[in-house]
Assembly symmetry: C2
Homo-oligomer: 426 residues x 2
């Protein structure tokens, strides 16, 4: 790993794949066709892109049972325990509607309502992760969303990953369609005879899925467009090099464009971690991916002191941050930008990827400056409540009408005055 | 106004102005130039589009004072009172960071952090509304955003609207630049020598501003892309036709594409309101706009009973909803989709547009199905906190490693096992 001295303006940002003009055009055409021809377009694109002509898009009860049966009891128990932990954490995010009153009898407030229907995209192939099902479904469920629809591209055998289906069953998803790509996003956004439209689409996908989400954004809500994953480890001399290296590599194995960074105040730790990464990487099954990621995006940033190290982390705004220092909580308090913060030796990132409860859908590529982990708020919306009393109205009617006239909006002023402010008002 | 019977599938949706290919190209070119040439590009575009060559983009202290001095004491007092009300309401939205602990010593939580810097776009010309300044700035301020930057296009005289500047001063905005259009959005998103970059851009604007926000989305956060405004009034026979009509017209005067709908269970109210709208519209200064809006987008929907009327409103998902019925709170409880809900005779929409405290930046064009009024959450982000205890780690390490292997991610499993789970674990 490259070892460098900290310098201002440090950044993890990689260029985002915005797609080629051809890819954008292809996605627009697919969306257009699905809007026009509905299910038949969905079936045709599935045949073309996934190589299978399906009788039924909907996953049957029997397919769900077969999938579950193909996992071991131990595997099912682990998925169930993870689902329970994730549910418990997200239930703590649920907010109540609230209101205030005043002595004129006016009531103001904010009403929280779950979205009616949410679509969860789950990638196919080797990226078909049961943890992704849990992390996208459980917050929607905690929010009270009644209809949660899952879509995922079928394999050539017309089937979905058993582990994904088992996770969906444990998460309580009942409506699952074997459809992927831009055609799945179009069906969710605009509806077909088989797949009724939803209000929001979440979940990761390939470039076609990402482009399709961008296209339908506005007609439905979408979650973020996720970039490749990243981790920063902030460590002092108290950290253990082999553990730091193992954590950096757990990120690097995801993707050759994943980014693993060590920020440290210890020059000796820097050297040791660099050596450990080389050693451990060579032993990994996904060695090629991990080594490419470390080579292109791996960095060790040596800082003069902890203040500088914290500044470096805040500039990076990493998706995942591990703090392996003395006084981890004190350091955490000074972190302004990070998707998830793992504190201490026993909070290795995979603890949060699968099991602890907080969400693993996190803002990437520096967007932790302004974005949040997927959470219950993403599946609820607010409505303002205004119930003005006659007393409050009479006290303020003239001021409100004056404000309207200051903005040149006479009909607004007259709407107020239509309540007889001129006769009985003031 | 057209009177119709309720039928399922009713919708307020109007096609969203997605811009022409030429407009999109122009916006992309402007953004490219500002990224490349910074301030000099900003000055050049301002000269080209706003017809003025500025010495300084930053509004001076002197300009602020002149603007304030040009408003009456009464006007300033009204803006101040509105600002106080808006601040008070939004302060109630502030959330605390929270955490949970368990008896193994594990701590999980969610840390709330305000965004570092927010840009507020304020349109120029006749759409330069002081209320818009307050509604966009106060939630950011309540959230604790340290740097709030305002941008607005100058008139040919190189000046901004005095009312807008006065509102900015009252709201506590200190950094205001005379720049508008796509060049303002580009400067806020990517920074120039004069205008440092921000993390999020909010506020309404014309098609060039909307397209530019779409382009920079992802590099910075943006609020919604607002469509033309709309109101639905849900009324029974207890409502007063002249008041309902005045409220419908207060929406219609905004924009020829604004949409005003009465949903009612009373056929006689429907007739009366239609007549009142015709009568009152003819007397408005903005008569042409209001009449065009009513003609093209005004509707009266007559329903068989209140259940049907509530269903109609939920299908419309209006930006503003006035409930003028007996048992207004009971009706409100059944509304699932509306940006702001005004209950009772004295909650005429302008009460909320300017004064009561809730935000007037609301989801339009049916997006109340999944979007919320602008609020403090829009200016804070969350970070997950995971501090796993050694006990919890040892209890769960093997399960977490198994989960990782189920997903084919060996380095994840090894990161867990690097903590010595094999020696001392289980």
């Amino acid at each position: 790993m490259k070892i460098e001295r900290f310098a201002e303006g440090i950044s993890l940002k990689r260029s985002v794949d915005a797609g080629t003009a051809d890819q954008r055009k292809a996605v627009q055409d697919i969306i257009h066709d699905v809007r026009k021809s509905g299910d038949s377009a969905v079936h045709n694109f599935t045949e073309r892109f996934d190589g299978v002509r399906l009788e039924e898009l909907l996953v049957s009860e029997r397919e769900m049972e077969e999938a579950t049966a193909s996992l071991s009891a131990e595997q099912l128990a682990i998925i169930q325990e993870a689902a329970d932990n994730i549910e418990m954490f997200h239930e703590k995010q649920i907010r109540n509607s609230w209101f205030t009153t005043d002595d004129t009898g006016t009531m103001l407030g904010q009403k929280l309502t779950p979205l009616d229907a949410v679509g969860v995209y789950v990638p196919g192939g080797t990226a078909a992760y049961p943890s992704s099902v849990l992390m996208n479904v459980m917050p929607a469920k905690a929010a009270g969303v009644e209809r949660i629809v899952m879509v995922s591209p079928p394999g050539k055998d017309g089937k979905l990953s058993p582990a994904v289906l088992a996770a969906a069953k444990i998460a309580g998803v009942k409506e699952i369609y074997k459809v992927g790509g831009a055609q799945a996003i179009a069906a969710l956004a605009y509806g077909t005879k088989t797949i009724k439209k939803v209000d929001k689409i979440v979940g990761p996908g390939n470039i076609y899925v990402a482009l399709a989400k961008r296209e339908v954004f506005g007609d439905v809500a979408i979650d973020m467009i996720a970039g490749p994953s990243e981790i920063a480890v902030l460590a002092d001399e108290s950290a253990i090099a082999s553990e730091v290296a193992a954590d950096l590599l757990s990120q690097a194995e995801h993707d050759a464009r994943a980014c693993s960074v060590l920020v440290t105040v210890s020059a000796s730790l820097a050297e040791e971690v660099a050596a450990e990464v080389t050693k451990q990487a060579a032993l990994l099954p996904r060695r090629e991916i991990a080594e490419a990621s470390i080579k292109d995006y791996g960095r060790i940033v040596v800082c003069g002191n902890m203040t500088e190290a914290i500044e470096a982390v805040n500039e990076l705004a990493p998706e995942h941050l591990e703090i392996m220092t003395k006084d981890g909580l004190e350091v955490m308090a000074k972190i302004r930008h990070a998707g998830a913060i793992f504190i201490g030796r026993y909070s290795s990132e995979p603890v949060g990827d699968y099991f602890a409860g907080p969400n693993h859908v996190l803002p990437t590529n520096g967007t932790a400056r302004f974005s949040s982990p997927l959470n219950v708020d993403d599946f609820q919306k607010k409505s303002s409540i205004i119930m003005y009393s006659e007393t409050a109205f009479r006290q303020n009617a003239e001021k409100i009408a004056d404000f309207a006239r200051m903005e040149g909006l006479e009909a607004h002023a007259r709407a107020i005055e239509s309540r007889g402010v001129n006769e009985s008002g003031k």
